[in-house]
Structures are given as C-alpha cells and as structure tokens.
Amino acid sequence: MQRCSSIRRFSSSSKKLCFREELKNNYIPTNFLQKTVLTVGSAAVALMEPHRGDMIACLGEVTGEMSLKYMREKLLGSSEGAEILKEMPRINSKTVCFKTLSEMPERTLGRVYADFMRDNNITADSRLPVQFIADPELGYVMQRYREVHDLVHATLFMKTTMLGEVTVKWVEGIQTKLPMCIGGGIWGAARLRPKHRQLYLKYYLPWAIKTGNSAQFLQAIYFEKRWDQNIDDFHKEMNIVPLTKV
C-alpha cells in the first residue's frame, strides 16, 4: 500500500491494485436474508430521509449484481470501456486537478465539469466506498458509476435539483439497468412539487427516455482522456441533444 500511494499517480497498474485492496478492506459479507432486509430497509430510509446518500449507495449495491454484470459486458464491448475496466481510473480531488480544469477554455468538457461542480457546490470526494460487493471488477463498475455520476449530470446539463436528479436517474436507469436508478427515477418523481412535476411530465421525462435510449453508453466513456474535447462535439459523438428550455 505504501508503494501504491507514492507511485499511484504514475502507474495505472498500481491504481488498480489500490482499488482491489481498498475493496477487500471495506468488504462486508452478507447473506440473502441480510441483503433482503437491507434492500427493504435502505429503500424505506432513503424515501423518508433523502439526505441519507449512504442508503441509496447501499440499495444500489445489494440490488445491483445482475445490472453490474450487464454493465461490465457493455464496457468490454467497446475499446474505451475495456480500457476503463483494465486501468480502473478513479475520480476524486487527488486524481483530478480541478484547478486546471477550471482554467481550461470555455465549452470544453473539463471546463463544463469544473464549473458544474463549483456552481452546484459539490465535491468529487463525497462518493462512498463500495462495501457489499466482493468481485473486484463488479465493485469497480459500481464505484465508477458513482464517480462519473456528476459528469453525467454536467454533460447532460442537469442541475442537482430534485428535478435534475430524477431526470439523470431515468437516463442512468435506462442505460445501466440498475434497480436503484429505476426506483429512484420513479419514487423521486413522486416527491416533486406541482410546478416541477408539470415540467417533468411534459419535458424532462420524455427527453430522459429518448436520451437514455439513443445516447452512447455513458459509463464506457473515459472522461479523463477527453477534458479538452469541445462539449458540442462531445454531444454529437454521444448522440445527446441537450434539453432546451421552452
């Protein structure tokens, strides 16, 4: 681990080792009964106390095994995705220099991301470690999903309001098939205030379904190698048409 921490930034193979070791240290074995209670319990707590992000994380892990396998297959289906799975890159304030990104030219992916994080007052270090998944690759796919979630928000131009979150959950749910995303999309929408619910039903939801189905698989995008890509080019490549406010 000492070797790992000192040369982590320079060697991609040691990054992978770090993640595997971290996953093993955090791993908590659970049986079917415990997973069932965790599923029901975390869903209930997440609904009652939306600020409990750890409950969403828990729900995602205990219900996500099949979806994670699907996501892994999809990653291996593209060269960019396969590279991600091989190198296991992480996104946090140590691996990504936000200061550099914020000074990049406007309308680049990196700049859009840095501005998004600043405008919504969020940090890339708030993503919880995976606890209930034993397989290192599946565990990584879950960790990666969490760490690119803000990038998905940023590139879809969706704010971190309830409306934005629900919309992103729909796109992610369609693409990843994670039950937690699908559930979040449905239940989250139930909590929308009347004005936002109207917007959701008329514009956001149809757009989310269209985007989720027609866009490229966003989990297989190696964002860290595309910081200087123009955002409009990125959208064209990904087949994303941003939602324009009416």
């Binding site: 240290n25 659970t30 009964l33 828990c58």
Partner: protein, 294 residues
C-alpha cells in the same frame, strides 16, 4: 506505514487478525510475554491491549449520536426495562454518593435522579450526588445535552457532575463513593480486573458495586436463537439507522467474549467484594451482578 495503520484502524479491519472462532480468551488470563505485547480480544479479532482502548474509543465516537436510538431498536425497547430493574435493585437512599461508570449518555444517572425524586427522599437534609464518568467525551456530551433537554441539570437536591476518565485508572480518592454502577460498559474495558480493583478502591467500606451487563444464556437453544438475531440482524440495523456496520458487529462479538455469570462472579470476588450475587434478566441475555466492600 503509520498512515496505513490508522486508515486500517479507521475502517475497523486488520488483514492479519481475521476472525478466529474458538480463540476466545479473557484479558485477565493473558500472561505477559517478554517480547510480545499483551494481546486481548476486540470482538472476534485479536489485538494488542493498547490498540483495544483506541478501537473501542473509535466505536463509541462513531455510535454516540445514535446510541440511544440503536439501543431501542436492537432490544425492542427492553433495555429500558432492564435499566429500570437495575435502579430498583440499587434502591438508593438519601445521602448516596453514586459513581456511574461508563455512564455516557446518562440512562442510569437519570433513573437515579428520578428514583430519589419519586421517593421524595429529596426532602431529607442529606444531599445525594452522582458522578457520571466515561472514557469517551463525545458520549458525555450527548449525556449533558440530554440532561439539559430533560431538565435534570436543574435538579437542586442531587448534585450531578460529569467526568471524563478511564475506569482502569480513576483520578479519584479511595473510599469516596457509597455506590458504583456500571451498565453495559464493563465488557468494553481492556482490563476488567483492573476496573474491578479500582471500583473496590473508590468505594467506601459498606459500599455497593452493581453491574448490568450482557451475559450468556443457560439454555443452548435460546442462545442459538439469540446468536442468529445478533449476528444476522444487529449489524444490518446499524447500517440502516446509523450508517455503520462494523461498530455493531464489534458490539455483538464483544458480548460473546465477556465471561459468563459464574466466571464474572469469581472475578468480582477476586477484587475483594463479598456477598456477591447475580440475577439473570430475560433468560440470561443480561445479568445484574452485585457485591459489597466489607
């Protein structure tokens, strides 16, 4: 290396000390070795004694805010009844000077205050007092906040004070207190024998030691059912309510590591107490041990 160790401690796991079933031993039975540090148990892990204090401290730092809620959920509220019975057994009279060890969030001390108030013994001119003592300041802070909220801090007839100290090394004079209580705290101490010696020292002659602690069920079928509930469900509840699995896994394991009723009784006698008795509650899930400094 030091950084790695503190990270591993924080996440509560050590690759080297995997759960060793059957390697249960009690800290009082460890023989000091020339080269090795003294080892003890931390739940089902084996750790150095100085590490155990730190790890236990970490557990209670983490659980303090949700401590009372978790107690209610894990025991389905029954812990309240256990503590009520505990205070009835103590049956304090006016003029009692109580040391409530591992008293953290105040459950026992508040019952003590209520008991004296209900018996209208506060009308007597003998002042009573309670020192709430805990090794963990965070737990004491939660207790102080509860005392404020529930109006105990304004109680005129009973003097209440809060002390952050280690039960194995009390910064208190000999023969000071007439009663010493410890409720669900002693099994977390590294050297239980030292705690008992200190309890004996600070009690006045005639003083009473009273301990409420988890114990072993005499009926093995019931013990099995209790084990299933403990190991399967309690850490899950910890995850859902407090967002923490590992501290509750530790708590459940530490119960199994603690001596049974008879063994604990002999340990209390070894510390010098006499007329040592115990009473099982809820089929032996916990027990109240009592002894006198005679």
């Amino acid at each position: 290396m030091a950084l790695r160790r503190s990270v591993l401690t924080l996440i509560g796991s050590k690759k080297a000390s995997l759960r060793v079933c059957g390697a249960k031993h009690f800290s009082t039975q460890t023989e000091p070795k020339e080269d090795d540090k003294r080892k003890t148990h931390f739940g089902f892990e084996t750790v150095n004694e100085d590490e155990k204090t730190k790890k236990v401290h970490q557990v209670f730092e983490t659980v303090a805010d949700k401590y009372d809620l978790m107690n209610d959920v894990m025991s389905l509220g029954v812990h309240r009844v256990w503590k009520d019975i505990f205070m009835m057994r103590l049956a304090p009279t006016p003029g009692t000077k109580l040391l409530d060890m591992a008293g953290g969030t105040g459950d026992i001390s508040f019952r003590y205050l209520n008991y004296l108030k209900n018996k209208d013994l506060s009308a007597s001119d003998k002042p009573s007092s309670v020192t709430v003592c805990d090794i963990n300041q965070h737990m004491l802070d939660v207790g102080k906040a509860r005392a404020e909220r529930q109006g105990y801090s304004k109680e005129p007839s009973v003097h209440m004070e809060w002390l952050c100290a280690d039960a194995e090394r009390l910064p208190l004079a000999d023969d000071t207190y007439s009663a010493y209580t410890v409720s669900f705290g002693i099994r977390n101490c590294t050297r239980v024998d030292k705690v008992l010696e200190e309890a004996y020292r600070v009690l006045q002659p005639g003083g009473r030691f009273l301990c409420l602690e988890f114990s072993q069920l005499p009926n093995s079928t019931m013990q099995w059912m209790y084990d299933q509930y403990s190991f399967q469900m309690i850490p899950v509840m910890g995850q859902l309510i407090a967002g923490q699995w590992k501290p509750y896994k530790y708590l459940v394991e530490s119960i199994r590591q603690f001596p049974d009723q008879e063994k604990f009784k002999s340990m209390i006698e070894e510390a010098g107490f006499r007329q040592v008795t115990y009473e099982n509650l809820t089929f032996g899930i916990c027990a109240i041990h009592s002894g006198f400094k005679l």
